[in-house]
Symmetry: C2
Subunit: 189 residues, 2 copies
């Protein structure tokens, strides 16, 4: 028999940990970001949820551009730090070496295996947060993190966040193949 878990505001499924890159008043800024999903198949669009109190929120409204960077487990501390201090009080512009793609205000982190360049397309206003929907302009990845031309999670070594226990988790063993493992059941129907 299931019981009701009361901390529904705090709870989250395991989310992939990313770092949001913006330009805040003309300076590079970073923020730990967990609430993120693809939202449209074609064209490729991605959505992120940012609290209205965060400096990055206003930076996105201001420039309409940002990056989503996928850190490896070797920079857990730096990633966590970006979520502990506000860009309104602390200059985080020197934390990482950055590079740019097509967009002028989407600083991408060289130390992250994979970075997504995003152009804001639509903002959904919600009570405490904004949900920003963006076109994926480009996905940038280091060749060393590809296997047969595809991003390889065993090489990238991303990590996940769960709340309210606030744990970071590595990716574990391969447990199956999507659009494949259910085929035997389909035959039986």
């Amino acid at each position: 028999m299931k019981q009701i878990f009361e901390q529904k505001n705090l709870f989250c499924l395991p989310w992939t940990q990313t770092i949001l890159g913006t330009h805040l008043n003309g300076k590079v800024n970073f923020m730990a970001l967990d609430w993120i999903t693809r939202v449209n198949f074609k064209p490729a669009m991605i959505g992120i949820c940012v609290n209205k109190n965060n400096a990055s929120h206003d930076a996105i409204i201001d420039t309409g551009e940002y990056s989503i960077n996928l850190p490896s487990v070797n920079i857990v501390e730096l990633t966590d730090y970006t979520g502990l201090v506000s860009g309104n009080r602390v200059d985080k512009s020197d934390l990482f070496e950055v590079f740019y793609g097509e967009l002028k205000a989407a600083p991408m982190i060289s130390d992250c295996p994979l970075s997504i360049e995003c152009k804001l397309s639509q903002t959904v206003d919600l009570p405490t947060n904004s949900f920003f929907i963006a076109d994926i302009v480009n996905i940038h990845i280091e060749e060393q993190f590809l296997t047969d031309g595809t991003p390889d999670m065993k090489k990238i070594k991303p990590f996940l966040l769960t709340m309210p226990d606030n744990n970071f988790w590595a990716i574990g063993e391969n447990v199956g193949k999507a659009w494949n493992d259910g085929k035997d059941l389909r035959k039986k129907q």
Copy 2:
């Protein structure tokens, strides 16, 4: 030097695998769902992205209610099966034992450690998909998957999807503590 990854439609970060539960023309239906995120802190709101061609898409529009269920690695095959066949062609209502909370059209899966009961609040129309924003009505969890009153991922054993390699991954080792591991760096600034 990073290169551009061309398959941006297909790519996704590691997403937690869930199963969407709906009522399709009055019958229970399920669909594998990966594009999902929290979208508002308070009140607790969650967003999911569903392709307009999926039967579940119309079911959500019709009833305004659904469930999000978090499966364990022991039901990878069943989970994958729900994403291989359409509810418009195959009756999936007997796949799982279900239970209900407050909502009449949000069938929750007894075999999943954790289920989220959702009431649709807003629909964002995008080119190939709809992004459904819902209030989290309740989170239901079996007591055996809690530790000190909190969902314990080592007990729940969720799994993740990556694309375009289409792999399922278990959660791995604990690699840190959020809002904590960056504190030493904060002191140094």
